[in-house]
Amino acid sequence: MAANLSSMRHVRGFDVVKPLSITVMIAVMLPLILLPLASIFIFGTNKGLASFWSALSAPEAIFALKLSMVTSFWATVFNVIFGLFAAYVLSKYSFWGRNAVIVTISLPTAIPTAVAGFALLLLWGPYGTLGRLLDPQGIHLMFTAWAIILANIFVTFPLAFGVIKPVFDTMSLSLEEASATMGASRWQTFWHVTLPSLRGAIVSGALLTFARAVGEFGSTILVSGNLASRTQTAPLYIFAKFNEGQVEAANAIAIVLALFSFVIFSILFFARDWLEAD
């Protein structure tokens, strides 16, 4: 994404506004974004790498990181596959209530995550609408890793769908028609023609979903029960350790999560050309 720098031809000589506006921009960003990020790294490493390392390798910390990765992974797999399916159905077929479905699917972006977690508890919890029926069968979803996956699915649902649907919408129908006249079945057309055009959207949708799921806090803390080494994800671990006054332990994980999101967004940013290449 090469930014086109337009030369300011209407200004003659030295342009004071340029250094001034850059300075103001950075001055505003500094306390709001840059310094908080920097302080994670400064505090996390000011007692030496050894202490950072031991904080990181605590069994509870490793468990929390693993749990975050695994639950986010399955939520991503589900949301990409189902998002792909939903986008296909919703852009291909028109039916009564289609717009209502599209709005509903996109809704979780606007719902506070704590509300999402609460809603899941009301449905699946021991006294919830469905949970009440499952509880006697010995099926308990809430306060397990399943609950975390459910919360992640709920919160990140619109992300992959939102990236994939526009690609379906703009895809020319004549590609599929051409494929059909050439003898391809629906499945062959989807596999050979439709899917390759979605490659970029699927990869970026998956990365966005995964990044968002790994950082999820509000809904997870309600549905997981926050049990150390059982249902405690990385963000919950940071919160718990901070509450216990173990700032270093919290900080070590915070660094890992910050680096992790930094990597994912770098991929999204720099690989965009590759992802969108024809």
């Binding site: 020319s172 028609e177 059909a180 003898g183 391809a184 390759p196 024809d278």
Partner: protein
């Protein structure tokens, strides 16, 4: 003597379209369309937008279903088969090349779907690349090709699986005027070389006349006339065909004693067995078939229409176009095109008085009186 009766026998026609009708809601898009395409033949469906030509193409390829009628491809009734089982080759208006496949992969697609052996695919792709002169571009992606190159890929891609018929949907619509002219000559000679029956659709009459072995003129879902370019241009059967294929001058009148008569105009016509006195008729003639002379100079060679006043003379390149206001009731204006030799021999200016005569013309009888005659004939035959 053995008698073989085949339930379907449409001779050597590659494509037969029988009684095709279709409506979208209230509007009738196609009304009883019948025509056929022979082996090695190029038929052009010519019509304005909304004439139903695209719908015919989509029905033949199986992308749309007709309300009634049949599609026969090489003696096989495919009316109820889905697009993928018909084996037609469609060249879409935007070519619809697969953007994530390179030229080779696009061409190989139809064979890959048919699970053809790898070696055979490679041979076919090489042969087709040679045929459409794209050997140097085999690894390129569609977005890296020019419009003409994309079109050749689209043709090669359709030819790969030996299609029953090639169907071209406004194939030159997306190209600029100069390239269009070159490309359609190229494509015509290519199709003549490989001998694959083809149907083109277009709204461009010049394109239709140049490309087609036969031209079918469509008007609001009806097939007005089908014939060789010469026939449809010189012997239009309806007013629509006459005016759609180039400019045409029209004079209303009636048949009387073997003549076409309109006020004080009287033109000798060939004796038509069905023409009866009193039938309403139209005299139709092309701008190049109307001749302007000094009133005293109009020779016996021409049948005189009337005198007129030159209204406008404009230079349009190879020809001169003259608009002349006739000295007839309602003062109709006729268009005349004159070649250079004539403009030099007899220069014209606006306001000049001339006499107008015709050599070639066509008499179109009023459809109502034609239908009348037909039923009478039918009754006589029945009796």
């Amino acid at each position: 003597m053995d008698i073989h009766i085949t339930p379907l026998d449409f001779g050597k026609a590659a494509v037969t379209v029988l009684g095709l009708s279709k409506s979208f809601g209230e509007s009738r898009v196609l009304q009883n369309i019948n025509f056929h395409v022979d082996e090695d033949e190029i038929v052009v469906l010519l019509g304005a937008s909304g004439s139903g030509k695209t719908t015919i193409l989509r029905i033949i390829s199986g992308l749309d279903l007709p309300d009634t009628g049949k599609i026969i491809l090489h003696n096989r009734d495919v009316t109820n088969l889905p697009a993928r089982e018909r084996g037609t080759g469609v060249i879409f208006q935007s070519y619809a090349l697969f953007p994530k496949m390179n030229v080779e992969q696009n061409i190989a697609y139809g064979l890959r779907i048919r699970r053809t052996k790898r070696k055979e695919i490679k041979e076919t792709v090489n042969r087709l690349l040679e045929l459409v002169h794209l050997n140097d571009h085999r690894k390129k992606y569609p977005s890296q090709l020019s419009g003409g190159q994309q079109q050749r890929v689209a043709i090669a891609r359709a030819l790969a699986y030996n299609p029953e018929v090639l169907l071209f949907d406004e194939p030159f619509g997306a190209l600029d005027a100069q390239i269009r002219a070159t490309l359609r000559r190229e494509i015509r000679s290519l199709l003549k070389e490989i001998k694959v029956p083809s149907i083109f659709i277009t709204h461009d009459q010049e394109e239709a006349l140049e490309l087609g072995d036969r031209v079918a003129v469509l008007n609001s879902g009806r097939l007005e006339q089908i014939g060789t370019p010469f026939e449809v241009y010189n012997n239009p059967e309806t007013e629509y065909v006459a005016t759609f294929l180039g400019a045409a001058n029209i004079l209303n009148g009636k048949i009387e004693g073997g003549k076409f008569v309109s006020s004080n105009v009287s033109i000798d016509i060939d004796t038509d067995a069905n023409a009866r006195d009193g039938d309403l008729a139209k005299l139709v003639f092309r701008p190049e078939d109307l001749f302007l002379r000094k009133p005293e100079n109009l020779t016996q060679k021409y049948q005189k229409l009337a005198d007129g006043i030159i209204q406008e003379v404009s230079f349009i390149g190879a020809f001169e176009r003259v608009i002349v206001k006739m000295d007839l009731p309602d003062a109709p204006t006729f268009v005349v095109t004159r070649p250079k030799t004539e403009t030099v021999a007899f220069p014209l200016i606006a306001g000049q008085k001339v006499a107008a005569g015709v050599v070639r013309f066509r008499i179109l009888r009023d459809p109502a009186s034609v239908a009348n005659a037909a039923t009478k004939k039918g009754r006589n035959a029945a009796a």
